[in-house]
Symmetry: C2
Subunit: 330 residues, 2 copies
């Protein structure tokens, strides 16, 4: 019984967005098939202010795998003081049949991919068939990940992008051109929202970033930024009359953009979960004029599924280092 | 930035009960000095029935260390089906100053040692100076660990032991003789309780195992078995008039033997925590006739302190394997 160790470089080599989309889609289906257990996460606040380390676990009964992800973030002095990234991650995978630790991998890249993949899964299920123009508000890592994932499920013609940082916007434009040959048209949040068939919000905002009146009929909105109590990007009015879909109703009611719509009465709980649509238990988009909203807060089972897919690929390719924690003790 | 990996055999080699007692004693003090954060643990129930995997985390602000312990147990088919123990463990240590993963070690042996150490710390603080006779009810791993720890803090003359399993009792007697040269006198729970200066209970009972009338004045009771809602070993009457000390009042009120005493009104909350006594904030034993009770449910900070001590010792001795999860990615 040896544990497979995977470095960040190996994880990068093994991560393929198409695999992650497949894994995350299956995870949403499992979540709504009573195949998943996800206990409340554990969080520790550290110094400097804003730094933290969180632990999230999930059980996938179908795949018989348990994951534990440790994620740190907000250590803004790390690059200068320690030569380390300001956030890191570690994922442990356990065989649910016997509790054995089968894999320990760097988890720094996993969250970005699995969150991007969730957006793409929602777009495949809910966006108009002819959606070609993607708008992103916020141009950080997660905006890149959403584009990376969306291009696997639709033919992107143009990307429209808004950012409060001119520098960040320029870097994003250059990178999308270089990585994917995509032309990015910078604009204000309103211009981006008005141009988009698919509108992605990935800011750290705690107030309305997208006014309801800016969003055209037929748009699919992927709301990623709001994942804590108090965070907000969407005008609660946007929820009125829209087809609202969440990853987890319990999470979105507490931490997603939905929290504000529920408070304002522009949405009523419980809302449809994405897995229910994937399983055919609930309808998706009604017609080409309907606005659809996917409120994404991120679930631990996405980590389980993504890490399990990585492990399979690593084993198939013979990548990684075996380490026997139990040694001759068995 | 490399992570030190420690196998079970290396952990066994590095674990010294005296070090663990020192570390755990400091942990109790830190807990009552506002130096500790311990979020509610995460638990997942698995198959077969009774199998589980739990995740416990703690932050030690004094030592600037975060620990995460994954513990599995109850996989009764593991030895036959997988050639694995029925319970395993993994401990991760993170540097609280930057979130980096500094150590990943097998954690199978840690819980036994840190729980044994807590009993010894309580005995040093609360038992009579002339305590020489130790009684144990229940003769499993934890009974062995309590003896192993108590012999570091007092001169044990005889051990009295009771078990529902004649086989288990015989093995315990043989092992204590061989390992420590200690003579064990088997008896009924009543005989053991009546003979003991220090009485240790380590069963899985969910009802009274020790009647109040059996315990002589001046006895120090270490109640280890009850660590979940519904579990019980001590007659709630024993708490009446005794000096009651807990590891964590919140935990003991919910999961320790104290839960039953609070319900029956033979104890009133909040009770003194062991750290308060170690820090001199609360008195210990009043006189040689007082019965003292230490209700031990186990805290994550004991894991943090024990693992951190192990890591220091491993580094000092050059034991373990360095693995760079971040690789050239830094």
């Amino acid at each position: 019984m040896a544990t497979l160790l995977l470095t960040k470089a190996q994880v990068r080599q093994l991560l393929r967005m198409t695999d992650v989309i497949t894994a995350v889609e299956a995870a949403f289906g499992a979540f709504n098939s009573d195949q998943v257990a996800q206990p409340d996460y554990m969080g520790l606040h550290l110094q400097p202010k804003g730094a933290e380390i969180d632990f999230k676990a999930a059980l996938d009964r179908a795949g018989q795998m348990v994951s534990l992800k440790a994620s740190s973030g907000g250590f803004r002095d790390n690059p200068a003081q320690f030569g380390l990234p300001n956030g890191m991650g570690t994922v442990l995978l356990f065989d649910a049949r016997n509790g054995a630790l089968v894999c320990a991998m760097d988890g720094s890249l996993l969250t970005g991919y699995r969150t991007g993949a969730a957006g793409a899964v929602s777009a495949r299920a809910l966006a108009r068939r002819d959606a070609r123009r993607v708008g992103v508000i916020g141009t950080g890592t997660q905006a890149r990940m959403q584009i990376r994932a969306l291009r696997e499920v639709l033919q992107i013609e143009t990307v429209h992008a808004a950012s409060r940082s001119a520098e960040g916007l320029a870097a994003f434009c250059a990178e999308m051109q270089e990585a994917f040959g995509l032309t990015v048209l910078p604009g204000s949040p309103q211009e981006v929202a008005e141009a988009a068939d698919i509108l992605v919000t990935t800011t750290r905002a705690t107030g309305v970033v997208v006014q309801a009146g800016w969003v055209r009929p037929g748009t699919h909105v992927i709301a990623v930024g709001a994942d804590q109590a108090g965070k907000q990007e969407l005008d609660p009015e946007l929820f009125r009359g829209a087809r609202i879909v969440v990853d987890s109703f319990a999470q979105c009611a507490a931490k997603g953009d939905l929290q504000h719509a529920l408070r304002d009465g522009t949405a009523e709980g419980p809302q449809t979960e994405l897995g229910e649509i994937l399983l055919g238990q609930q309808p998706g988009r009604s017609d080409d004029a309907q606005i659809t909203i996917f409120d994404s807060t991120g679930m631990a089972i996405q980590d389980t599924a993504t890490a399990a897919a990585l492990l399979s690929r690593a084993r198939a390719q013979g990548i990684g280092t075996l380490f026997d924690f139990l040694g001759q003790d068995g």
